[in-house]
Amino acid sequence: MNNFTLGRYLPMNSPIHRLDPRAKIGAMLIALVAIFFPAGWTGYGILFAVVAGVIVLSKLSWGFIWKAMKPMMFMLFFLLVINILVVKTGNVLVMIGTFGIYSDAVMQTLYIAVRLLLMIMITTCLTATTKPLDMTLGIEDLLKPFQKIGVPSHEIAMLISIALRFIPDLIDETERIMKAQESRGVDMKEGKLSERVMAILSLIVPLFVSAFQRAEDLANAMEARGYAPGEPRTRYKVLKMERRDYILLLGSVLLLTCMIWLAYFA
């Protein structure tokens, strides 16, 4: 269960790690929009080169990116199969009996594959180089303008950070309870239906009990320290945009313009 790669933070020291989370989130959103312009292979080439550059700068290993990609492979395979069955335009590449595989089907799948690859690379760049807590601080700040129309930006950020904070704990807890029950002869992997129901029950009930216990402890601990939602608070960590953050944003806007130009004007 410790093999999650998608969305995991990797503690390292790189120029990308040091960027302001708001700038990174903003740049990611702009880059994601840029991917969806039909800019052709030149466009994707440029995007890929830029993203690869960022990955190199952030000192992430390619193996890590590849691992994050892996769960998507299955989806891509299905897409390919469906495209081959449905798309009937372009040149016939291969004839199998009376069934033809068309070039557009392969091209479309390739397009989607490249877009997915780019999306995962970009989001991994963000999540692997930004501490979850910094990320929520960034989200809180980015949501602030929406406070006027009633969006509780601070509460949302607090919710996200608490949820993120407890994911590893809950995974550990699940593993612990699983092991404890396995020691009592529970087989988590196989068995008859009734046995499996029992096995899952023996895991879920203690997990819920401890999750509620933790929630209550946390609520008490927060109240004991005077936390009141909605009240103005100062921050321990104050985010500050620096020149490099503006450069990142500017760069991503340039990239977007470039894609729009390639798609509609070139």
């Binding site: 410790n2 092991k179 404890a180 396995e182 020691s183 029950l201």
Partner: protein, 286 residues
């Protein structure tokens, strides 16, 4: 049939940036029918070590012999379930594993998993609950209604009901009050003395090690630092202190007296003998 570890290594998350070697080339020989204490600082690998005993964790390298089974690194272990019935592992804070509607049902859950009939499982559960000294009016209560100490005893009864040959306990007395600790330790002592169970226990409480255990294994940084007889272990309190282990009160008392000019030999290790020595030396001084 002793329990032996031969060149056992265990690495968590191998091949990732989070890779961590918890056990490094461990060789260990646990005596059967004895109480062995496993001590060491937090993060030294004690819990990893004991989880190998019922194959919850498998070695990355090396071989483990447990009862009549052999677990070899890289091979899928056979007869896993019967091994887990023979080696009862009680986790730290085992009260978090309780889930059934009633105490009795929860304790009977273990034996039922090993194919024992419903009635027999209840029989075994009652026997185990009697062993841990839980009042009979608790049997039909929900485990969540019990006090902390009672929950702990219920959870331990859940393992005892499986009637394991080897009992492995990960910090069984953590968080219990002194009376609860004493009752728990006496229970393990009795299980060992009366029923011949081999007991292994991870603990931080040197008083318990000193009073109840036969052997001591010190784990440090994933390796076995010391493995010796418990009485032998506390004879040399300098060794204890060098490993950041505070010796039991009686040994500290003896050391302090010796510092102040008494000459009490190192093999004086119980209260009566110590008292007798003090009396003798005080008298001879007068």
């Amino acid at each position: 049939m002793p329990i032996t570890f031969e060149h056992v290594s265990h690495t968590y998350s191998e091949g990732t940036p989070f890779q961590y070697a918890a056990l490094k080339d461990v060789n260990l020989d646990i005596r059967e029918g004895k109480i062995t204490a496993i001590i060491g600082q937090t993060g030294s690998g004690k819990s990893t070590l004991v989880q190998h005993l019922n194959a919850l964790l498998l070695p990355n390298e090396g071989q483990i012999h447990i009862l009549d089974r052999v677990i070899t690194a890289g091979e899928k272990p056979k007869k896993l379930k019967s091994l887990r019935g023979d080696v009862g592992l009680v986790f730290q804070f085992p009260e978090y594993q309780l889930f059934e509607e009633t105490v009795l049902k929860d304790v009977a859950f273990g034996p039922k998993n090993f194919g024992v009939s419903e009635e027999e499982a209840v029989e075994k559960a009652k026997k185990a609950l009697k062993l841990v000294d839980l009042p009979e009016d608790c049997y039909e209560k929900s485990p969540l209604e019990l006090s902390g100490g009672q929950k702990r005893r219920t959870a331990i009864a859940g393992i005892l009901a499986m009637d394991p040959k080897v009992l492995v306990l990960d910090e069984p007395t953590a968080g219990l009050d002194p009376a609860g600790t004493k009752a728990m330790m006496s229970l393990f002592y009795e299980l060992n003395a009366k029923y011949g169970k081999t007991v292994l226990m991870v603990t931080h409480d040197m008083e318990n090690v000193f009073t109840y255990c036969d052997d001591v294994v010190v784990v440090e940084d994933g390796s076995i630092k010391v493995h010796t007889d418990a009485q032998e272990f506390f004879r040399d309190s300098a060794l204890c202190r060098s490993m950041n282990i505070l010796p039991p009160a009686l040994i500290r008392m003896r050391d302090m007296l010796n510092e102040k000019g008494f000459a009490i030999p190192a093999d004086v290790q119980d209260l009566d003998a110590l008292a007798a020595y003090i009396a003798k030396q005080v008298k001879s001084h007068e």
